[in-house]
Amino acid sequence: MTSHEEPLPELDWSDPAPPSAKVSASIQQACSRDLEKGRGLLAWQRALLSVVVSGAVVAALIALGLMQKQEAATLRAALLGAAGWGVVHLAVLLAGLARPPGRRGSRELRWALALGLPLVFFVYLALSAHSTLPLSRFLVEDTHAPTCGLFTLMFGAAAAGGTLLVWRRTDPLTPGLSGALAGLCGGLAAAAGIGVACPSHEAWHLWLAHGSTVLAFVVVGWAVGRKWLAP
């Protein structure tokens, strides 16, 4: 047995003296105020609310797309987008947000979701692209990309912001990671919806105007989550 494998003797840690009575009384007084106002939403109520917020964004974008063109390809994209959004949202809720902090999926699993799913989405976009322009030509010719990106950002911000608000102050342990997952939900909701409404099938357009916004929402969600999701 090496020295690192030897069991270490337990050390006797003495309890420090408690805080002063004045401090305890002050805490007691502060925490007894407005007790009746404290009851918040239960986890399943928050989950339902976040599904409604994010689902409304997807539904609005899909409806917009279907109003423009009612072709088989558009319907297929709508179904795929809605199904993809549903699966991702469910995975994020089950592994992360809807379970109590400390009883959630492992940190590795949740990071894999937050970073892996946008990459899977990039692959999906690559496979669904009909053409690929040289990057220099795309930058000059595709005047539609900034508008499309802006729409994705606006709708994504509504979905991600709504999700972050619904889960506000619920995660003291991994607020950044939970924020990244909320960002992923919002970003994917918008990207999946805009995929139906957008007429372009060019690869660079899909990657930059649709796909990159999902990654951007993961990063912004991480930063905002550290502020909003921590108590």
Binding site: Q28, C31, L35, G102, A230, P231
Partner: protein, 232 residues
């Protein structure tokens, strides 16, 4: 005559340990051995003698507190504050700062109680809030006033006392203070506060394996320093 629920530390000199009172109440013993209590929370709340509260888990107490039960908060405070205060005291090495941070922590808990997801382990929840408050406070304190030492580096935080240790308990605390922060926090959370490796690793943002290694290495250093103390 009321017998105190034994959940706290004995504060009144002369009262036998068998009748430890719920801190910070005072206890008086009658000739027959019964205890009477006074000074309940400096008049702010009722005494916790409810046996259902004494038997409840921290999670159950938290849920009752969220539902507006003041007595549940008292029991929750009595049970959680010693660990939380011990953690903050060892983190800050300063009693006043630890007390300030304890107040900030409970204020944040109170503000966020509606967001408590039922079933979540309470102590890691509290400790994570306390740690975040400590880091925020340290960051703002560094921005405000931090004089560089003669060699141009940031000074180590001052300890309450730099006297040579006189007994093993003091030597242990002093050895803990001298450990690198990563080892100290790992030991603080797992060995002293009593969190599981999984809970502590969530709080510190490390894997359980890495945390186990930190605890092991920290303990080796502690043991070495204790042996040096015993040889003195």
């Amino acid at each position: 005559m009321v017998r105190a629920v034994r959940v706290g530390r004995l504060e009144t000199p002369g009262a036998p340990p068998a009748y430890s009172c719920v801190w910070p109440y005072t206890v008086e013993m009658s000739a027959s051995g019964d205890a009477s209590l006074s000074g309940a929370w400096l008049g702010v709340g009722p005494l916790v003698t409810d046996t259902s509260l004494a038997a409840a888990t921290l999670e159950e107490l938290m849920e009752r507190y969220v539902d507006g039960d003041r007595a549940a908060f008292e029991a929750l405070y009595q049970r959680s504050s010693p660990k939380l205060f011990g953690y903050l005291l060892r983190l800050t090495r300063n009693r006043e700062r630890a007390e300030d941070l304890l107040q900030v922590t409970y204020a944040k808990v109170h503000r966020a109680r509606g967001s408590y997801l039922r079933g979540a382990p309470v102590l890691p929840w509290f400790i994570a809030i306390a740690r975040r408050s400590f880091l925020d406070e340290r960051r703002s304190a560094k921005v405000r006033t931090e004089d560089l030492s003669a060699d141009g580096t940031l000074p180590e935080p001052k300890r309450e006392s730099d006297d040579l240790s006189t007994d093993v308990a003091e030597a242990l605390e002093s050895a803990l203070d001298s450990l690198p922060e990563a080892y100290r926090e790992a030991i603080l959370l797992t060995k002293i506060t009593g969190l599981s490796l999984a809970e502590a690793s969530e709080i510190l943002g490390a894997t359980p394996t890495a945390l186990k290694l930190r605890v092991h290495r920290g303990y080796l250093q502690l043991r070495e320093r204790l042996e040096q103390f015993k040889r003195r």
